[in-house]
């Protein structure tokens, strides 16, 4: 078994203020002690709301954001310990599909040039070979070849997302970090992109880190899921187990908030909880203020991730043991 990507105790923090390049004052922790394993050919869903640090996690894995501590093991090489030059040979292995494909494309470059860019930078093909490869990449993602001469602003949202995918695939990566790849798209387009991602994965044995706020999309594409809240891992495990038997109250709240048409207007556990947030710097659980089932202990002691068996981890003193959620 080849463990593609293994993350251990990854933390990212930003200095609150910088002056002449030097950090000043307190640091702000964006990610705290995250760990997971992503096998080759598998998808790990990263679920979280805004401010959960999910985008930062994706960037940190690719070393686009420097981690403050922890290890990023890729084929047993610790990427976190490498400098820019040392990283260079590994860069083509892993690519990012940005949240907003339009922002991620130079508006003055044609789509063909956008897709060709990584080929120029990382592959060093001849002009002729590049042209063939771009056409091939475009057809892989279902992008009409006539669109290659257009500019990003002339494409629709779905076409742009396909172009972004084609570019990410150009270096023949083994890992794709997909940051909310379907969030701006209509339902029918979302289905097409999700299917395309599944097909590409089956065809090329790609690993995906699928970052999303949408549990439904994650449940469709990810074998395993990690739930983030304010930079902390709340729960991770096989997607099916996590959805059928959520152990963390936060996961349960996210699931209850999913608009499942069958449960019309049912009361749900996402009702407002008006508990005062714990003092900053205290050892409370980060989800304390929002938790529906918090106990006094949660205010004084942060939970440590414990295993529930089956590779299912939860960071909660009082995990939910209730019957499997009925769908």
């Amino acid at each position: 078994m080849s463990a593609g990507l293994r993350i251990e105790h990854l933390s990212v923090e930003y200095a609150a203020r910088r002056r002449l390049g030097r950090p000043q004052g307190d640091t702000h922790k964006v990610l705290t002690d995250i760990g997971f394993t992503l096998l080759a050919g598998e998808t790990l869903g990263i679920v979280g709301e805004s401010g959960s640090g999910k985008t930062t996690l994706g960037h940190a894995v690719l070393r686009m954001t420097p981690p403050s501590s922890g290890r990023i093991l890729w084929d047993s090489v610790d990427l976190a310990a490498l400098d820019d030059r040392g990283l260079r040979p590994y860069r083509p292995h892993m690519q990012l599909v940005f949240q907003d494909p339009y922002e991620a494309m130079n508006p003055r470059m044609s789509i063909g040039c956008v897709i060709a860019e990584p080929l120029i930078l990382a592959c060093g093909l001849t002009r002729r070979a590049r042209r063939i490869r771009v056409a091939q990449l475009a057809s892989q993602v279902g992008l009409d070849e006539s669109l290659l001469t257009r500019y990003p602003r002339e494409l629709s949202g779905g076409q742009r997302q396909r172009a972004a995918l084609a570019r990410a695939l150009a270096t023949k990566p083994r890992l794709l970090v997909l940051d909310e790849p379907t969030s701006g798209l209509d339902v029918s387009l979302q289905a097409r992109i999700l299917n395309l991602l599944r097909d590409l994965q089956a065809e090329k044995g790609l690993s995906y880190l699928f970052i999303s706020h949408d549990l439904a999309a994650v449940s469709y594409i990810a074998q395993r899921t990690l739930v983030l809240f304010r930079g902390h891992m709340m729960e991770q495990g096989p997607t099916d187990a996590l959805i059928r038997r959520p152990a963390h109250p936060y996961t349960a709240a996210l699931l209850a908030a999913l608009p499942v048409p069958a449960e019309r207007k049912a009361a749900n556990s996402a009702a407002e909880v008006t508990r005062l947030p714990p003092d900053p710097g205290s050892r409370a659980c980060v989800y304390y203020a929002g938790c529906a089932t918090a106990q006094p202990r949660c205010r004084t002691e942060a939970p440590i991730a414990t295993t529930l068996g089956d590779d299912h981890l939860v960071a909660c003193h009082y995990p939910l043991h209730g019957a499997a959620r009925d769908f």
Binding site: V187, S188, A217, Y220, P259, R264
Partner: protein, 325 residues
């Protein structure tokens, strides 16, 4: 359909480009009613004309787009016959509007309480003190009691969910009978989305408010609305009871929309895709507008324009699926 006068009745609404360049109206022959205390969800993808319809009801069509036909009755008054001045007065009083992004709709330089006070006084007059009391009551009603009691806050000091609550309070400032909510939760986090939808349904019940809920999310519509109307390329394709809609949509487009949503938990099946793209206003399509993408298309679909019929059979398809059992 509730008996008596509907809070909103739209019939034969057709919107098009003023310049006449489009080959196809942007919204064509759209009719629907919303009763008091009822929520109707408009479901459609971008470009289906759902937001344009809301803009037409509110009398705020973007420049260059014109109402070519149709009647809009709000609370028994025909709006299209009113002069601009009278219409403007009615806008804030008889209907409230909630946008997707409250930050662009709220003034950044005025406290939120002050904004509600201003809105109230513009439409209803009265003393500043009375308006202030009204603003506090409204903020409490939308679940912002802390904001009602404490000092006034600027929009940028509030969270996204709180801003949307303020937006709703503002829309309700003059006790309108109709609330138009255009993608009110699209920009919000999942947990907040539920809170805002719960708030809207509570207001709908408690105030007997008619709500036109515009969304691209069929699941949200099915969970919260009483009825659903699906729009495709400017035409209504199906209207039905929300509870049964998701189980048995009859129009092939509604079915395709439903089948494109990933189920939770996953059932291992591949998501259904709709081939092609919706037609723009420049494309003239004979017959059913969905025919080029329809999996069940037959010969007559390309000739005959299917209609919804009067308020009875509410599916615009020549060969619809079986009705819900």
């Amino acid at each position: 359909m509730t008996a008596g006068e509907a809070a909103l009745a739209v019939s034969g609404l057709t919107l098009g480009l003023a310049s006449g360049h489009a080959r196809q109206p942007l919204v064509e022959d759209l009719s629907f009613r919303i009763g008091r205390g009822e929520m109707l969800a408009f479901v459609g993808e971008s470009g289906s004309g759902k937001s344009l319809t809301a803009a037409a009801i509110f009398g705020l069509l973007p420049p260059g787009i014109r109402r070519m036909a149709g009647a809009i009755r709000v609370g028994g008054t025909e709006l299209t016959a009113l002069p601009e001045r009278a219409l403007r007065a009615r806008r804030g009083r008889d209907m409230g509007l909630v946008f997707q992004n409250p930050l662009t709709a709220l003034s950044p330089s005025l406290g939120v309480q002050a904004q509600i006070v201003e809105t109230y006084r513009v439409h209803k007059g009265g003393t500043r003190e009375a308006a202030r009391g009204r603003a506090r009551a409204l903020l409490t009603e939308v679940g912002l009691s802390a904001l009602a009691a404490g000092p006034d806050r600027y929009p940028h000091q509030l969270s996204g969910g709180m801003r949307q609550r303020v937006m709703i309070a503002l829309a309700l400032a003059c006790d309108p009978g109709l609330l138009i909510a255009d993608e009110p939760t699209t920009a919000l986090d999942t947990l907040i989305q539920v809170q805002i939808m719960d708030l809207l349904t509570r207001l709908q019940r408690e105030r007997g408010l008619a709500v036109l809920f515009i969304t691209h999310d069929l699941r949200l519509a099915a969970r919260y609305a009483d009825r659903i109307l699906v729009l495709y390329a400017g035409r209504a394709v199906e209207e039905g009871d929300a509870a049964s809609f998701f189980i048995a949509p009859r129009h092939p487009y509604s079915r395709a929309l439903r089948d494109a949503i990933p189920p939770v938990p996953a059932d291992g099946r591949r998501l259904a895709e709709i081939p092609g793209q919706p037609p723009g206003p420049q494309t003239r399509i004979e017959g059913c507008r969905f025919a080029p993408r329809c999996p069940d298309v037959r010969d007559d679909c390309r000739r005959v324009v299917p209609t919804m019929g009067p308020l009875g059979v509410r599916v615009a398809c020549l060969h619809p699926g079986a009705p819900a059992p």
